[in-house]
Symmetry: D2
Subunit: 348 residues, 4 copies
């Protein structure tokens, strides 16, 4: 074993018969809300040892881990890194890690869009590592094969996860009509990050529901459409209105999709169950029940409610924890798949 392949035999093994590999990992950008959640999840993951965690803004100690500047991180000592860094920065670290054979789960937006052109158009600056594109898209329920064993993956955005999970079984069967798809999401303010800003202050969020970036200007729109079009190229355009609601974590997507003729509730449910019934991290609600934020907050799974169907308009609700299935726990799920660890270890 070379020095930079830091895997060791678990002290949990008995009598040398069952050995568990412990993987050393690093967390970049650990002081934000996503980073903190990720550190906590990794701290209880039986096959992970967090070797380092970085922060540019904080020298505090988080879950027993002293934060260090990115520049000091001993990248050579780990098998995988999680990047909770700003876009533009993450891609550079991803490229460096990939070059050293360290696996990358990038929670930023840098690897999510398939081409540097679409990235530049969306994020208004050059892509930091175009040679990594297109990266495997890290939504395991849609893309498990490509993630298993991948060298790096793009961990999806929180809105994207909820909207795609609400639509994927329909898109896969080309059930969506060419009409616009409405996605009205309600998200906890932790999604706006931990950097102090007026819009995230208690007094501002409390007592309010606030739409923002309505229509097609939110940066998650190209990401949703890119992945949706892989399933059904001729589906309608997305109309997306996210709203900040006064909760800390949680995200509910209420999606309104019109279907082609011939789709009734029985067929629709069958499509969702075919895709999700055996998914360990997706709960499909019984008929007549809608997903709500409480179903998923502080949990690692997504919850999907199907219906009602009004004429040809189907209402689908999908709830996730924006910091977990919308970020950190999905990153762990991707990590598990990439490393050959059973998919839900550390998550259930």
């Amino acid at each position: 074993m070379t020095p930079n392949t830091p895997s060791k035999t678990s002290n949990l093994s008995h009598e040398g018969r069952r050995t568990t590999t412990i993987h050393a990992v690093g967390v970049y950008g650990a002081s934000g809300y996503t980073g903190q959640t990720l550190l906590r999840l990794l701290g209880t993951h039986p096959q992970v040892q967090v070797a380092f965690a970085t922060s540019e803004s904080s020298r505090e100690t988080l879950d027993g881990m002293e934060l260090m500047p990115l520049a000091d991180a001993p990248l050579d000592t780990v098998r995988a890194v999680f990047l909770c860094l700003p876009h533009g920065v993450a891609g550079k670290v991803a490229a460096e890690a990939a070059a050293k054979g360290v696996k990358v789960i990038d929670l930023s937006a840098d690897l999510r869009l398939d081409t540097p052109e679409l990235y530049q158009q969306t994020y208004k600056h050059e892509h930091p590592a175009p040679h990594l594109l297109p990266a495997p898209y890290g939504l395991p329920e849609l893309n498990r094969q490509a993630i298993m064993g991948a060298a790096y993956v793009a961990n999806p955005g929180c809105h994207v996860t909820s909207v795609l999970l609400a639509l994927a079984p329909l898109a896969r069967l080309k059930a969506l009509s060419p009409d616009p798809i409405i996605a009205d999401t309600k998200t906890g303010i932790s999604g706006a990050g931990r950097s102090p800003k007026l819009d995230s202050m208690f007094v501002e969020v409390y007592g309010d529901v606030r739409p923002y970036n309505a229509g097609r200007v939110h940066r998650h729109v190209p990401e949703i459409e890119q992945e949706l079009h892989k399933l059904q190229p001729d589906c309608g355009p997305l109309v997306f209105v996210p709203h900040v609601v006064p909760v800390d974590v949680g995200l509910l997507a209420t999606v309104y999709a019109r279907l082609k003729p011939g789709w009734n509730m029985a067929r629709i449910r069958a499509a969702f169950l075919a895709d999700y019934e055996h998914e360990p991290l997706i709960d499909v609600l019984p008929e007549g029940k809608a997903a709500q934020i409480k179903h998923a907050a502080h949990k690692n799974n997504a919850v999907v409610g199907i219906g009602p169907l009004v004429g040809d308009t189907l209402v689908i609700t999908c709830a996730i924890d924006n910091l977990r299935k919308g970020a950190a726990s999905q990153a762990v799920q991707n990590f598990n798949l990439m490393m050959g660890v059973p998919e839900t270890v550390g998550l259930v």
Copy 2:
């Protein structure tokens, strides 16, 4: 002046030249959240004296007013009554009051639907006073002429007010396409009333966003469609998903409406401004701004945001205080119109 014409000269008048009439009114069902808000508004209304307030559940004193049982209310001593009663009960009191020449502002659902048949279908019991139907619909911005001088009016529901205000200028110009209209509303829990129930408890509402009665099962759907069809009979059907959000008061409707060809943002804004620019209780936001609950909570006005327009899908946001423009302050507005008092007295 007969004993049951309880109007007196205001002590605010000067030198006998300008006299202000003070109207005695009664409030039925004053102990609920709407009733309390109404009592507070009437308490500062310079041309109103609250002669009595009723409650079946409470003998408490509210804003200096001792509550009495409905059966003891001296209906003969007032010029107008406000009914914050359950449906089924309100209609009976409305009929009695109307028979005595006492003006009625009914905040229940009893007078809102135009026919006893639609009422029975919606509320699952016989209409308590079918001879009063159809009643003038008390949304002043749509129906001011019919309200002025009316003997009784049906005060609209809170969801209805916000959705209709979002759509009326378009419907009046027949701009809506026949496609489904999506109304996704977010409402404070006070809308569920003050009777203790599990779903309204702090622990249940806190940290959650909860859809309910999704699709077309909410009782406000027939009311919205009835009024909308008066403006544009061929508009599309409503798909309505209300959500409870963790705030006490406030309601935001995010409405997605597809328009007929030929409607661009300039023409759309012109339509809204033509209808609302001079409305004292509607604020139209500048282009690019969406309405949010904070714009309207604890205030008596509605706030409307127009756009964006995505293809032919227009996003309209409308925020109100569900207990005010969605109930009590709209009732005062109707009262003012019915009594010949300037429309915004007691409201601005």
Copy 3:
């Protein structure tokens, strides 16, 4: 093994060398907030199998467990029962269980006070099972020896746990002066239970901080003083003012205690560390840090902040989750001690 000794060999054991006993337990009153939290904790406890759960108000299924009426509960099939029942009712079930040799963790108030007289004076009705008094008081950090192997224990109230943990190290060393002890607590509304009532509704709790039962009228006062006097009989009387704050769970006690001459911060910290440093479920904060609800909410431990000392007045802060260390997780801790299971199994 007799039929009503339902312990079985764990399927987690390897090769017959290490065997783990799984204990069948019953939960009475499982549909309240404490009962729900307890069911969740027991559901992940590796040495527990929940055989039944009762509710008088609900037939719902909780965490996969169908609730049954108390009268149908198969008491004979379990080794231990947890009672989340109203006072007056719990004592009867406790007596019945104790008579059958089933261990009892009583989360109600019925076994907390040492004499039937004090109980009657406090709860205004006769004690349901006076022969069980005095019962071992189930605050492990104060009373571990008596709990180990006990047939039944009285699980403390939430306010009591926080106030006693704030004072015990001082009282044990007779450090408290005879002056009044001030305990100002701030508690989440879940402490008021899951039965719908006006004071627990979202609209009422939101935006408020509400003192209640101020002084010495709260029923937890005799319980706190009884236990405190066992440690220091001559300490001063308690002045107790609980406040409801707008959070779902969590409790912070800010305690102001005057000390006898000779106590400085160094000696005070030493006293606390001597008692708590090795306690697995108590965290003592570094000097200068006060406990806050976030330290303990959704966690099973108590967090204690010591100081400042102002003259002879010491400020102690103690945060717990009122449903966990203040109720359900403390019950599991007691269960573990009673059954010979390592104390923190299922809790860390």
Copy 4:
């Protein structure tokens, strides 16, 4: 009338017989939470015209008022200024205004402490305008005579207002024993200001109760003791623990004071009623009722609950809106007294 005496005849007057003077005022530091509240109050004050409002951080328009930098403010054009500026800055503007004969209501801490020495010790920098000290302390219920006609006043801090109102009637009668006085306050986060900082972010405040600056380190302690000692020089020292609670506005002080022998509830209530019964902006609750934040939030008055008395320890609760009676509405009350306007104009 000189150019810098901007008073004009009101257009509300009738026939020249009753004239109302309208005073031009300026607001410095209008973009913070206090400044915003003050601008709203002044906007509806019938005898005030806001001539200018300043902000160093914002060029936004607030309530129709364009904000300008402090340096551009036309101080000569107004009769009075309200200073919502940081300490250190406010004192300089106060001195400049006072020199020009413009009345000053200083909402900062600069004029609150009577000596430059105590100020320097508390705020760790030199006093910006020592010649203005001691300034009349602007708590009208304690100090009305000195405020009437004053050239400048020090508007009290929010914690100070609530704690002093809870203690003043006792201190005035020398009823307090020499024992420590405990003040445990619970305050909305708007008290921490509108500048973005981590501790004020929604995610941090939500779900928490957080003590801070416990003991005697909070800068309001010297201010409280200074004023209290004017009433009773031999009262005990203050032990002060403020807590942030998850509400936007409102402050509750729970005060525990020991009394000299001979004080019973009847005598205590008599003392409070003698001082407060005729105060227009203080409500004394009936016996047995404690003040809660909802009593005072969004209102201009203070609410005081007296008792219980436990031995010689009296519990007093005092609720205010920290931005109103704790800041902006108290400033208007002071302004009214200084200008000879009836005290509650614009406030009730």
